[in-house]
Every structure is written in C-alpha cells, then in structure tokens.
Amino acid sequence: MDLFEYQGKQYFARYGIAVSPGDIADTVDQAVAVAERVGYPVVVKAQVKVGGRGKAGGVKLAANVEEVRLHAGNILGLDIKGHVVRRLWIERSSDIAKEYYASFTLDRLNKVHLGMLSAQGGVEIEVVAEENPEAIAFLSIDPVHGLDLATARRWVNEAELDEVAREQAATLLVHLYECYTHGDCDLAEINPLILTPDNKVHALDAKVTLDENASFRHPEWEEFRATEFDDPREKMAKEKGLNYIGLDGTVGIIANGAGLAMSTLDVVNQVGGTAANFLDIGGGANADVMAAALEVINADPKVKAIFVNIFGGITRVDDVAHGVLEALGRVSIASPIVLRLDGTNAVEGRAILAPHLSASLITEPTMMDAARRAVSLAKA
C-alpha cells in the first residue's frame, strides 16, 4: 500500500524522524486555518500518489493568507496525470542549504536490505544512478543484524554529507531503518532530506510503501485504508478481500493464483481481446470468495464477457462451482461466463455445474479455448 506524503510523514514522525510542522486540508478554508497555525511562509502541496506534481503545479509557496487561498483553490481539483487532488498538505516552509537522498528497500537479488544515501538529493534518484552512480553510497544490511549507529556514521562519511549534517543524519538513518523494518515498509524514502541554514537535518518529503502482508501486526494502518483507492472497482474489491486491479478492457478475468491470473490476461490479449481487470481469488478460495469476485466484475459496466480460469490446487474446484452458482442466485450477472476448470476436485466441480450450463454459462476444456470463447463473446 502506497502512502500519501502526509501519511508517510506522520509515519516517519512515529519513529522519531524530524518532519516539518504541518497538517492536512481538504478545503481552502482548512488550508488557511493550518497556515495560520503553523506560521508563514508555508508550502501548499498536492497529495497524490504519483511523481512529478511540482512540475504539474501541485506544489506552491505561499507567503500570506491571500496566497494560501489562491494556491489551495488552484491545486484542489487539479488533475495530475489522471490523479485528481482532493487533499493538501500545508507545512511550514523550510530554508534549504543542502538536499540529500536517503532510502531503504529490499535488495531482492542479494536478499538483504539495501540503503541508498546521496549528497545529491532533490532530483530523481534514478537520474543520479544513471548519470553519476558514484554519488550514491550503497549499504547492504544483513536483516538479522540490522543497522547500528557506528555503521550509519561510516555511511554518512562515505556519502560525503556535509560535516555539520553527519551526526544528525546518522541518527536519522537509524530511525529510518527502524521505520522500514519494524514499520514493515517495502520502501521508505526521503527525497529530499534537507540540511537547513541553521544546521538542522529533516525530511522534506516522504515516500512510503507498506507491506500489506504485515497488516496483522499494524492496527494503526487502518486509517490509511480509507484513502487507499481512487478506482471504485478496486475499493469494492478490497472491501470484499479480493486481490483486484482495474484495467480498461472488456473481458472480466477471475483466476486463482497470481501467475495464472497474469497468464490469463496475456492469453486474452494474444487472442485479440482486452482484459477489464486482474483478479486473483487466491488460494483456498471458497464459494463466498467466488461469489464476491463475480459481483465485483459484474459491477464494471465495460465488461462484456467473464472468463473464470481455475486450476485447483489449494483451491478446490467444487467450491468454485458452488460459488459460481451462489453468485448467480444472488445477483443477476450481466455478461456471459466462460469457465475453464481443472485440478483439485475438477471432476466434482464440473458435475456440479453441468445441469446449469447455458448460453450464458459455458465451460471450455482448455485455457486457450476458453480465452477465444470469452473474447468472441465480448466482441459479439
């Protein structure tokens, strides 16, 4: 789950990382109230989960109440690469002497944590990595042993941060590592991490991606969920506990397992169709899950045919068959359903469906046949 900047900053603050004083605002009046409280000048920042908001006019400096009104009014409702701004973060403007970069993420190749630190922050780190890779100090961290202050001190020296920033930066990096590990982040990134003219180091931006597998030990993440989705289809799917990603095509996809779901998208594409979504009903999907999946797909008006691709493993095909029938009893499904069922209890599952087959409930023997049928129905 990606966090908005303000959520990331609030998350950082929990781990003792210094951020600028500020607050959120959903209206111009709220923006003014926050600005009055934190003191001018302030920065008015669009809260969108997409890069490049500065260039799009989503970040403005305001020296007084009139400017806050002007900028907040302009930025609220602004469309930044398809993301409409509904919330602002207003914070006290910081004077900047230097901009650094710091992040932690998983080094999947080496299966350790990877810290990246650079004295050249404020620009995209991918650009720095491309043009001037020696400006980034990489640190591999054994997850068993973690990051201690002594290592962090050597690291800030190696990255050649300004002398006055080093001790504060080292401490901040240890806190950021704690946030990354104990806070169960996939990514914790500060860009820029700034040094002010009065020699203070703090986070001016926050990019945090949380690992949803760790939700069970983070009840505090609940507040982030309310703001998680722009796409109403994804919101509905999430509420039903489904792993769904909305796309633009006409064939609704339901598959068990991420790999098979991806592969289903691929074959639909190969036979000339377009997928309306990715939906993995996961392992052990029961009748309720299947029914919920069909309801979510059914709510998408673009869908013209539904392709249910199940290869039973931990998922039992007879459960899936019950789920399909249950869903058909519960809601009127607008599009024809093409099923391909194999694997655990497939024979039982097919037998359950057999008496119910019709022009709008079809089975096909193979994945390719089912893809072709679904695509032709979607085009009909």
Partner: protein
C-alpha cells in the same frame, strides 16, 4: 532420479491439525508420500487418521527420523515454524504459507544461510514439490503429474506450475520433479538452485522454467543457463500485459520502473538459448517437440 526429495523422504507436517494442513497432509500421504508425523504445540500424543502428532519438531524428528517438513501454518506463525524446523534437525523445509511479511522472510532467509547452511527452504508462498510416483509435499494435485521423466519443472507461480504439469501430462510426457519456488520477494530456493540440480540429475533431460514479472531472478537464471546448462530449457514468463507499478497478486510480481518486465526476461532467456514461449500451452507443445527429438 528426482531432485531434493525421493520415495524415501520422511516428512512431517507442521500444522497437520489445521484445516489446510490436514487436507493436504492426508492427500500427500494418499499419494504415497511418507508422511510420518505432524506437529502442533499442545496436541502431542493425538493423531490425525493414524499420523502421530507431536508437540515440537524436535520430538517429531527424534521419534520418526523425518528429514523434511511441510509447513502449513498461518503467516503470523510461519517464520517461527520454519526456524523451529531448522533447529529441530529438518534439512528440507517446504513452506506453502501465503502472506508472510517480507521483513520476516528476509530475516528467515539470512538466519538459515548463516546458522543452518545445510537446510534448504522451498517457498514461502509456493505450491511445494512433487516427484511423480515418489513424493508429493505441498498442495499440488498429484493426479495431474506423470511419473517417469524426462522433464524437470521449476516455476515461480503456483497455478502455472499445475498448468505446466497438466500440459505435459496431457501429451504423455512425464516429469522427474516439479518444483514450485513461489512468488514472494525472498524465496528460499531460486531458479538457479533448481536448474543446477536438474543439470546434475541424469534422468532429467529437459527443463521447463516458468517465470513472471518482477525482480531479476529470471535474468540471473538466464546468465547461468548460458554458461552451464547443457540440457534444453523451455520457458514461459507470465505478465506481458501487466501494467508497471502494480503488484500482480504476488508480493514479488511488480514491474518497478523499467526493471522486471516480462519482455526483458524473455529477451535474456532467448539470448541464453532458451526456447521462450508466449503461453503455457505453447510451452507445453514446444516441450513435446523437444522430448520427441531426444
């Protein structure tokens, strides 16, 4: 021959008394796997359809001589269960649990490497391993596999593993071993581990490799294949149509920036001489042609 397991492998099931552990543990036993015990703290002394249950892995190993464990416990307890298996003397751990936090996986992986170098972990979030006719640990439906070789399968995706087995079995092509390495960011066993084992196994004469978007394990495997693999490899990579920046179900399946795309993986594999196919059916047919020509 088979890799990692065979007909003599003795297996315990951690979580045998749970719903999934019971269903799949019993199914593995019915397949012929030597399921010699189960472990559930507090339920020692009971049994599940004749399979004795122990309080700890250590007790189970002492009583049964098991060397392999099938871990089927909820994500919250999985990391501890894996460590308990390693500490209890198990050398081959299959963890099917989906949804373990990446931070836990990173710690477990490195703990095993540092403290238990002789232990192999398969998974987490994987379908397990099947050596048709000999041993099935995990959630793969045994009836879709066919004994006798000559193909080895290694796959990052559970259901695509079944699909691959099915495509081959339908053509009468058997498998030596089929390994599902799982789709999480920190898999205990990777493509190269399996390719190496298949290369060394005289009965395996060709390998099917199923990958997906995200990470760079497929690229690394391609580099290894180019240098070391003498047996033909057929590959399919899922996620050609996946949009960047969105996790496709598996925690590991995400295209980050320009990295991890299906196309980059397919290019790397093709460059290594691998037969790259566009869907599981085509991969099955290609393997059919290769096996006929062996």
């Amino acid at each position: 021959m088979s890799i990692f397991v065979d007909e003599n492998t003795k297996v315990i099931v951690q979580g045998l008394t749970g719903g999934q552990g019971r269903f799949h543990g019993l199914r593995n036993r019915d397949y012929g796997t030597k399921i010699v015990g189960g472990v559930t703290p507090g339920k020692g002394g009971t049994d599940v359809e004749g399979i004795p249950v122990f309080n700890s892995v250590k007790e189970a190993v002492a009583a049964t001589g098991a060397t392999a464990s099938f871990v089927s416990v909820p994500p919250k307890f999985a990391a501890a269960a894996i460590l308990e298996a390693a500490e209890g003397g198990i050398t081959f751990i299959v963890c099917i649990t989906e949804g373990i936090p990446a931070q836990d996986e990173a710690i477990i992986y490195n703990r095993l490497v540092e403290d238990f170098p002789g232990v192999r972990l398969l998974g987490p979030n994987c379908p397990g391993i099947i050596s048709p006719g000999k041993c099935n640990i995990g959630i793969t439906s045994g009836d879709i596999a066919l004994a006798g070789g000559p193909v080895g399968i290694v796959s990052r995706s559970g259901t695509l593993t079944y699909q691959a087995l099915y495509e081959l079995s339908q053509q009468g092509i058997g498998q030596t071993t089929c390994v599902g390495i799982g789709g999480d960011p920190v898999p205990g066993t990777n493509f190269i581990d399996c390719l190496e084992a298949f290369e060394a196994d005289p009965d395996t004469r060709a390998v099917m490799m199923i990958g997906e978007i995200g990470g760079s394990e497929e690229e690394r495997a391609a580099a290894w294949i180019k240098l070391h693999m003498t047996k033909p490899v057929v590959s399919y990579i899922a996620g050609v149509t996946a949009p960047p920046g969105r996790k496709m179900g598996h925690a590991g399946a995400i295209i980050s920036g320009s990295k991890g795309t299906a196309q980059a993986k397919m290019d790397a594999l093709a460059d290594a001489g691998v037969h790259v196919c566009l869907n599981p059916t085509e991969a099955g047919q290609k393997m059919g042609d290769i096996v006929k020509a062996l």
